[in-house]
């Protein structure tokens, strides 16, 4: 009986680890999907309205609340004070890869130095790069993330059986 309880506890713990791994992949996949949407939005706003970058970001943030917009809000606040990065992101952003946040910062910092035609062309190439990473993150979530979760559940069950 003790073995069964221990096994069940370990099974739950291992499954929880798997769930966190899956969530990390999902968070990154979602982050990249919204990142791609954001770049498209910036491109359209610059091409059509020549809206200043801070206004574009403020408008985008006001549309939705998610991990991406929370990161974006911090970046925007920093840039308004001429700080590039102070890594002061909310807790729920911890699952997002640091390199992806760094890409986002460098993409935003690179905007606004040229005329609109040059900016739009540059954003098109950023969009292509982000799309590739977005597809990669989505594939990784579907394959690795889901598999890690399933595997952890299986390992948990196996441990439980062994302990029984």
């Amino acid at each position: 009986m003790f073995g069964l309880i221990c096994g069940a506890a370990i099974c739950i713990a291992v499954s929880f680890v798997g769930l966190i791994i899956k969530r990390k992949y999902k968070t990154n996949a979602d982050f990249m999907a919204i990142y791609l949407d954001f770049i498209g939005y910036v491109k359209t706003e610059i091409a059509n309205n020549k809206t200043p970058i801070f206004t574009i970001i403020d408008n985008y943030i006001s549309r939705d609340v998610n991990v991406f917009t929370k990161v974006l809000k911090v970046i925007n606040g920093n840039l308004k004070k001429d700080i590039v990065d102070n890594e002061n992101y909310p807790k729920e952003c911890a699952l997002v890869d640091k390199k992806r946040i760094q890409w986002l910062i460098s993409d935003i910092v690179s905007i606004g130095k040229y005329d609109s035609i040059t900016e739009v062309n540059k954003l098109k190439s950023i969009e292509e790069r982000v799309k590739i990473d977005c597809d990669l993150a989505a594939t990784k979530y579907k394959k690795d993330g889901v598999m890690a979760f399933k595997l952890s559940v299986l390992i948990g069950i196996a441990i439980m059986i062994i302990l029984c």
Binding site: I46, P52, I53, I111, G112, Y114, S116, T118
Partner: protein, 281 residues
């Protein structure tokens, strides 16, 4: 130094500028000494401006969005909060022979707008009994400042005024907000080519007085004359050192028919050198 001006500069440049009072103009050239104009004259400072200083000023002045002000950059300037106008020069980017933008901006002229509270006494009869007025002056002697203050007073007296501010020098509008007071009854058209604006303005805005800065060339003079024929009064400025010589120019001769008052500035900033009242023919 006003916060709106101070925020444009990096710390060291700011320290250098704070030694001067009553700043009128700051000239920033890459790898050259910073030059400052005050009401006391021209001062060459010890500070050597760098390209980083210029990039920083542009970044702050445009809120990291140079593309948002590309149309005014094509005309050679950027307008900022607090009535500050930054003249820019660099390399032209051409697209099918047309100016698309200016890149590698390496020289800036930062002009700080001032308002005058005490108008010269020669101006008061014009304010009290307004008729078409032309303000003439060599550059940098305060014609736009005088024009702005006259506009404000005429507006506050109840005249509906339309300011056609092609280069955003009169109102210093940023994000739709006028940074300089032009009075309670003033409408401002900013950034619109003046010639395109006159006809539509008379029809749609129905102003009592049209105000414009730095008239240039025959076409604009014709537009002014047409506006006066439509029953609107005008107040304008132009670059000149002599009233008679100015009117001898073929392009500006039609102004003789419509202008009632002439003010010529000279000798010192804002000082009226010559004034003529009620002289339209």
């Amino acid at each position: 130094m006003k916060p709106s001006l101070k925020r444009l500069f990096r710390e060291r440049m700011c320290e250098c500028l704070e030694k001067y009072e009553e700043l009128r103009e700051i000239r920033v050239r890459s790898n050259k000494n910073l030059v400052v104009y005050t009401f006391g004259g021209r001062h060459v400072t010890d500070y050597i401006a760098t390209q980083e200083d210029i990039d920083y000023i542009l970044k702050i002045a445009t809120s990291r969005s140079l593309y948002a002000v590309e149309e005014s950059i094509k005309c050679g300037y950027i307008s900022c909060d607090g009535g500050i106008r930054i003249g820019v020069s660099g390399e032209a980017v051409l697209d099918n022979g047309k100016l698309r933008s200016i890149k590698n901006i390496n020289s800036l002229v930062i002009r700080i707008a001032k308002s005058v509270q005490n108008l010269p006494t020669e101006v008061l009869p014009i304010i009290n009994n307004f008729d078409n007025t032309l303000i003439l002056s060599p550059p940098f002697l305060g014609k736009t400042t005088l024009l702005r203050e006259m506009t404000r007073r005429l507006s506050d007296k109840g005249n509906d005024i339309l300011v056609i501010d092609e280069r955003n020098e009169i109102s210093a509008t940023v994000d739709g907000k006028q940074n300089l007071d032009l009075g309670a009854n003033t409408d401002v058209m900013v950034g619109v080519p003046k010639i395109a604006c006159y006809e539509g303005a008379v029809r749609t805005m129905a102003p009592d007085i049209i105000v414009t800065d730095e008239i240039f060339g025959e076409r604009e003079v014709d537009c002014l004359v047409d506006s006066v024929r439509s029953g609107v009064k005008v107040m304008a400025t132009a670059h000149a050192c002599n009233i008679d010589k100015f009117l001898l120019n073929k392009s500006y001769a039609p102004l003789k028919e419509i202008m009632a008052n002439y003010l010529l500035l000279g000798d010192s900033v804002g000082a009226v050198k010559e004034v003529r009242y009620n002289c339209s023919v």
